[in-house]
């Protein structure tokens, strides 16, 4: 039996154990038409790690998250994520249609989709968890509002509450603090830290390097290729080059 097969089996077995939240990239390449958005990125997000993805505009940061989430087809390479079924992906806010007639409460409870599925309505236990999640992000008084009538910061808080309900092992956040007010950023950052403490793998695309330095232990610097990947202290200087 070829060795690569053995390796794959072993990886899948590991997936059931401690390394469940690990995300492994091997030569990940993504193209949009002829344009190469991401070229041969390899490396590993350890299970339970908290990583900031930084880089200039067009460096492929969002593409990397989309590739991990399986939202864009790979032109080459492999994304190995044993927890694919327990992966939560929060795209940039612009991807959400805010004119859609939905209340904050409805948006948050959608996070329990895996429990109530396509047909059933959310049960009592889930509704209680949704209420707790809403309280955690400070939205308790806003639950009946349509999502079109709350601020950008509040919408992002609601989406974080939905993420809390999703109970994911791997959490991907694409520019979670863009256009969000200071107070909301601090609420959201606390939640990211809480996820990290709970042992979940979190990967966030960010622009604010001071914030990365202060709150994110690991950093990946992208410029279509991987420029640096490691502890924030070691990797971040690559941004200046």
């Amino acid at each position: 039996m070829p060795q690569s097969f053995d390796l794959r089996v072993r990886r899948e077995r590991e997936g059931c154990g401690l390394a469940a939240g690990r995300v492994l990239l091997r030569d990940v390449t993504v193209r949009y038409g002829r344009r190469v958005a991401l070229e041969a990125v390899s490396g590993e997000f350890a299970s339970g790690s908290l990583t900031a993805v930084v880089g200039a505009n067009g460096a492929g940061k969002s593409t990397l998250l989309a590739a991990i989430a399986g939202a864009v087809p790979l032109a080459g390479g492999v994304v190995n994520c044993a927890a694919r079924q327990r992966l939560a992906y929060l795209p940039q806010l612009a991807a959400i249609d805010r004119d859609y007639p939905l209340t904050v409460w409805e948006l948050i409870t959608l996070g329990g989709w895996r429990e109530f599925g396509v047909f059933r309505s959310p049960g009592t236990a889930l509704r209680a968890r949704a209420a707790t999640a809403a309280e955690t992000v400070g939205l308790t008084g806003r639950l009946r509002r349509p999502i079109g009538e709350i601020s950008v910061g509040e919408l992002q808080r609601a989406l974080f509450a939905r993420l809390i309900l999703q109970d994911a092992a791997v959490i991907l956040l694409d520019e979670p603090f863009a256009a969000v007010d200071e107070q909301s950023i601090s609420v959201l950052l606390d939640q990211v830290t809480r996820w990290h403490q709970e042992g979940r793998t979190a990967i966030a695309v960010l622009h604010d390097l001071d914030l990365v330095r202060a709150r994110f232990p690991s950093t990946l610097v992208l410029a279509r290729r991987c420029l640096a990947w490691g502890t924030t202290q070691a990797a971040l200087p690559a941004m200046a080059v």
């Binding site: 989430a69 939560a88 959400i96 249609d97 859609y100 939905l102 209340t103 959608l110 895996r114 047909f119």
Partner: protein
């Protein structure tokens, strides 16, 4: 003229008016939900294009079997689905998308007219372009009722993924475990348009789907509420249009679409002027 002779008698005395009424009511039940989802997804233009995409296939069905409702529908369904799949493929290249859709629209329409005119008469061409609400026979009626039932049941069963996919497709992809929800909605739209095509022809098939939904959307209700109101508007427009067509001796398909258009106009004006007045009332309080 009594109320009875104005409203009830046309349907009481004429079998073709009754058939038209039942067909329009069956269509309105399916169209309320489909149209609302189309409007919420901002896919009105796509709906219009798919309405014309039905045409070449229906024309091929016509060439093969003459004006038989089954063959017109099967052909229309086939070409509608092919174009829906092609439109899905070009979605990734956003910049060229609207031009691509309009190209489909024009080519499909012209191809259909050429094919029908090749073997058929001018009457046949008018028939596929504008439909024949008042010439719906029992076979066509059964077909419309069946398709509407399938659509309503499918939307009832898949309501949550369809509603969520409309505002946050990335989330649906993440939780949907690769279920092909992306293909379900276009298929339902094509089915609705094929059913509508029988009655309203390719040029107006999308009218009874979109206009009541667009009117209902003005009122700022939730998804389910919008669907219910759109269905109600569709039913009202059907009855009103048929009566106007009977008493005023005007073509019935356009009369129904006009009635729905009137509802849209009234909804738009009423809700936007309310929005202008309402803040002032709030400010006084």
């Amino acid at each position: 003229m009594s109320v009875h002779s104005l409203i009830v008698e046309p349907f009481e005395s004429l079998a073709f008016m009754r058939a038209a009424l039942v067909a329009c009511l069956a269509l309105a039940l399916a169209n309320g939900a489909i149209g609302t989802l189309l409007v919420l997804r901002r896919m009105s233009l796509d709906g219009d294009v798919l309405g014309h995409a039905v045409m070449p296939g229906a024309a091929v069905g016509f060439l093969y079997a003459g004006p038989s409702p089954e063959w017109l529908s099967l052909g229309g369904l086939a070409s509608g689905l092919v174009v829906a799949a092609l439109a899905g493929l070009i979605t990734s290249e956003r910049a060229r998308r609207d031009a691509g859709l309009v190209a489909f629209y024009l080519v499909a329409l012209s191809l259909g007219v050429v094919l029908v005119a090749w073997r058929g008469s001018n009457v046949d061409v008018m028939r596929v372009l504008f439909g024949t609400v008042l010439a719906i026979d029992q076979r066509a009626l059964l077909q419309i009722a069946t398709v509407s039932t399938v659509i309503v049941l499918a939307i009832a069963a898949l309501y949550r993924p369809l509603a969520v996919g409309a505002f946050d497709p990335a989330f649906l992809r993440a939780v949907g475990k690769r279920a092909p929800y992306g293909a379900v909605f276009p298929t339902l739209v094509v089915l609705a348009l094929v059913a509508s095509f029988q009655a309203f022809g390719t040029l107006m098939a999308v009218g009874p789907v979109l206009l009541p939904a667009a009117a209902a959307r003005c009122w700022g209700l939730g998804v389910a509420g919008s669907m219910a109101l759109a269905t109600g508007f569709g039913l009202a427009a059907s009855v009103a249009g048929l009566l106007v067509s009977y008493h005023g001796n005007v073509p019935s398909g356009p009369a129904i679409v006009l009635a729905a258009g009137l509802l849209f106009g009234v909804s738009l004006v009423a809700t936007s002027s309310w929005r202008r007045i309402a803040p002032n009332i709030g400010g006084d309080a």
